[in-house]
């Protein structure tokens, strides 16, 4: 059961830090896109990643100033996607143009509008301001997954899997044992899932980064702004205490690449031990391991689903309340 793509939406194509004077190719909702940053004003350009001539990937080509010169026969494109030069002749065919995608750099992400460019509205981009907050320290990465993007949404909406898939890392028994509250803002397309644990074991992820040795109050508040942005607001306190509060913002951008493929952008931002490089290195490495546990599990799950006969059945229980809501919101967005 492939999750339908929702067009006319903003998607994260890259981190701003990934975009420079090297051409970067990404495929979003099945559309190959080449990204680069202009010499003239440093803005991000996103163009269709196929030369109009013989469909050669422009991302495998080169920049001449702010123009891309196709690496196969030299068709040359400006930042708006217009072909400004072809080899050996003066006349440039009227149709020699590649699509230009609206691109906006915001909160350290590069957002690209997939759909009708005339309807792109920057004000609709969901915000993750903590990613660019100088008072927080952020570690981040991106992992491609060979799985339907709906599998990643499912994974993130139900954190009870932390207990089993991420035991010894971020999971403890209390995560799976604690009931959740789910809210769906139907018009805004936002699903919120909260799990508040008042007396929980402190997993290594937090024990080693905060220094807490005993049990904790652990608050997990998810906001999923469909289709692309997922925020987990995490707050940790020593059990029975109101302070200190250790704030961690866990961010995912879920960008469907192609059918059965998704980019998993992940980031962990914290407001504690911000000048401690060892904590930064620990959280980067440790969270990467956690992400890879998900990547391996979802790759395996997708392969298993691919071998199922059509129309296979699932069984949903209480822990799936938020995931089911997210699926429905995505279906609504995909239907337009």
């Amino acid at each position: 059961m492939a999750t339908a793509f929702a067009r006319n939406q903003w998607y994260v194509a890259a981190y701003g830090s990934e975009i420079g004077r090297e051409l970067l190719g990404r495929t979003i909702l099945g559309e190959p896109i080449v990204l680069y940053r202009t010499e003239a004003d440093g803005r991000v350009v996103a163009l269709a990643d196929r030369c109009v001539h013989r469909r050669y990937p422009l991302s495998a080509s080169r920049l001449d100033g702010d123009r891309i010169v196709c690496g196969y026969h030299g068709f040359t494109y400006d930042t708006a996607g217009a072909c400004v030069s072809v080899p050996g002749q003066q006349r440039i065919p009227r149709t020699a143009r590649v699509a230009a995608y609206p691109a906006v750099e915001l909160d350290s992400f590069v957002w690209v509008w997939i759909g009708d460019p005339a309807t792109a509205d920057e004000k609709l981009i969901p915000r993750a301001p903590h990613l660019a907050d100088p008072d927080l320290v952020t570690v981040r990465g991106m992992e491609p997954i060979d799985g339907d993007y709906g599998l990643l949404v499912d994974n993130l909406m139900d954190l009870s899997h932390e207990t089993y898939l991420h035991g010894g890392y971020i999971g403890t028994p209390e995560v799976a044992e604690t009931p959740i509250t789910t809210e769906v803002d139907e018009d805004a397309g936002i699903v919120r899932v909260s799990r508040h644990m008042t007396d929980a074991e402190c997993p290594p992820f937090y024990a080693r980064s905060t220094g807490i040795e005993g049990r904790i109050t652990r608050l997990q508040d998810i906001e999923y702004v469909a289709p692309c942005l997922y925020l987990l607001h995490s707050r940790i306190m020593p059990a029975g205490q109101d302070a200190p509060v250790f704030r961690t913002e866990i961010t995912y951008a879920i960008t469907p690449s192609a059918p059965g493929k998704v980019y998993d952008f992940w980031a962990v931002s914290r407001d504690f031990a911000t000048d401690d490089d060892e904590v930064t290195a620990f959280l980067r490495d440790f969270n990467h391991q956690v992400v890879m546990q998900d990547v391996d599990a979802l790759n395996l799950l997708q392969r298993a689903l691919d071998s199922e006969p059509a129309g296979y059945q699932e069984l949903s229980i209480n822990i799936d309340t938020g995931g089911l809501a997210a699926r429905r919101i995505l279906a609504k967005l995909a239907a337009g």
């Binding site: 969901p126 915000r127 993750a128 301001p129 009931p179 959740i180 509250t181 789910t182 809210e183 769906v184 803002d185 139907e186 018009d187 805004a188 936002i190 906001e223 702004v225 942005l229 925020l231 949903s316 229980i317 209480n318 799936d320 309340t321 089911l324 809501a325 429905r328």
Partner: protein, 57 residues
């Protein structure tokens, strides 16, 4: 909260200590179910699905 908020918010509370889900429609009507598929079906049937339910206080 980072995104916009509308008035149409449906809510499902998993009652601690039980397997029961308590749903609250944006209209105020309430419902109890023991699994989420039935709960969402009830909530999303608004306004046709729960005309007999009394609005909450």
């Amino acid at each position: 909260m980072t995104g916009p908020t509308s008035a149409v918010v449906n809510r499902v509370d998993w009652q601690p200590g039980t397997d029961l889900l308590h749903g609250t429609c944006h209209c105020g009507a309430r419902h109890t179910a023991d699994e989420p598929v039935a709960m969402w079906a009830w909530l999303l049937a608004h306004p046709d699905g729960h005309p007999s339910e009394a609005p909450s206080d």
